[in-house]
Symmetry: C2
Subunit: 162 residues, 2 copies
Amino acid sequence: MKLSDGVEWGVHACVLLAVLPADAALPAARLAEYHGVPSAYLAKHLQALARADVLETVKGPRGGYRLSRPATEITVLDVVEAIDGHEPAFRCTEIRRRGPSAAPVRDYRMPCGINRVFSGADDAWRAALAATTIADLVVGVVQDAPRAALDKAGRWLNDAIR
Amino acid sequence: MKLSDGVEWGVHACVLLAVLPADAALPAARLAEYHGVPSAYLAKHLQALARADVLETVKGPRGGYRLSRPATEITVLDVVEAIDGHEPAFRCTEIRRRGPSAAPVRDYRMPCGINRVFSGADDAWRAALAATTIADLVVGVVQDAPRAALDKAGRWLNDAIR
DNA sequence: GGAGTGATACTCGGATATCTGGTGTCCGAGTTTTCGCGG
DNA sequence: CCGCGAAAACTCGGACACCAGATATCCGAGTATCACTCC
C-alpha cells in the first residue's frame, strides 16, 4: 500500500499557495519549479484539486491556481481525497460468501467482521488527517524552516507573482 | 492508495486456521478452495506469512499451514505487515530541500511538518489494526455468520483434515 | 509378526509471465492582457 | 489624451504513451507416509 507521490506534491503546493497575497495566483509551471518536480505531472494533480474545489483556477496571463477557501478551512484530508480518491484502502470482496461453506446472501446481515476492523482503521487514519489544516502546516513550516530558506522563498514568491 | 487483495485473503485464512484442532494443518490448496480464490496466488501470500512467523509450515503429506502462535497473540496488523510490508503509506521525499528556495541540508533539524501529520495518521491506522487479534475475529465470525454456514464449514473442515 | 528400507505421493518454495494502475508527457480550448489605431 | 478592437501570449484542461508493482502461474526441492521385503 503506497500513497501516490502526487499527494505529497499537492499538500506542499497548497501550503505555498496559502501564503500568497489575496487575489494572486501561481501557475502550475511556477509551483513545479519551486518544488523541483515535473511540471506537467504536477499540473495533473492540481487539476484534480481544482475539480474537488480545493483550488480555483484563473485563466490567461497572470493566471494560475489559488486556494478556493481560507487555509483554515482546508484539511489535509481534503487534499488527499481530492488526489487519491475517496475509496477506502481496504475493499471487502465478501469472500465469506464464496466457497463450499457459503450460505444464501440474505443470511449475511452484518458487515464482515474483518471489514469492520479495516473500516475502523480507515476512519482513524482519515480523522488524523482531517485534524490538521493547511493553515496549521503553514505555521509549522514557518517555525521549522531555516531562516535563510524562508527569506529566499519570500523573494522568489515576490518575483513569481510580479 | 489501495491495499492488496492478498491482505484480505491472508486475514480470512488466519481466521480459518485459528479454528483448526491443535497440531493439524491445512494445505494452501484447501484454503484456496474454501475461500474461492486462486490457489497458486494465495500460496504466495501464505509464504509471506510464514516468513513473518505468523504461520508455520508442515511439509509432506498431511502437511500444510497452521498458526505459529495462539490466535490471541496474532494481531491483524501482524498479518497486514507480513503481506503488505512495513513501509508507511506516505514516504516523505523531502521536496522542501529542493527548488530555488532550498537551504543547506544541515539546517533542517525537524522532520517536515507534512511528514509528521502523515506519520501520525499512519500510527493511528496501525494502532487500530493492532487492537484486534485473530481470536477476536473468530468470535465475531461465530456471532455473525449464518448458522447454516457455520455447520457447513465445520463439516468441510473435518473432511479436509481427515 | 515386527523392523528396516525404498519408493511414492504430497507439500511448500522460489523463479517466471501477464496486466492493471500510477507515472510522465503532450497539444488544443479559453481568457486576459496588451499593443496599435482612430477619434 | 482616451477609448476601442484585434492580435497575441499565456494559462488551464483533457487525451495520449510508458513503466513499476501487483496479479497470476508454474515447476523443482524436500519430507512424512506407506507398502514391501526381509529377518
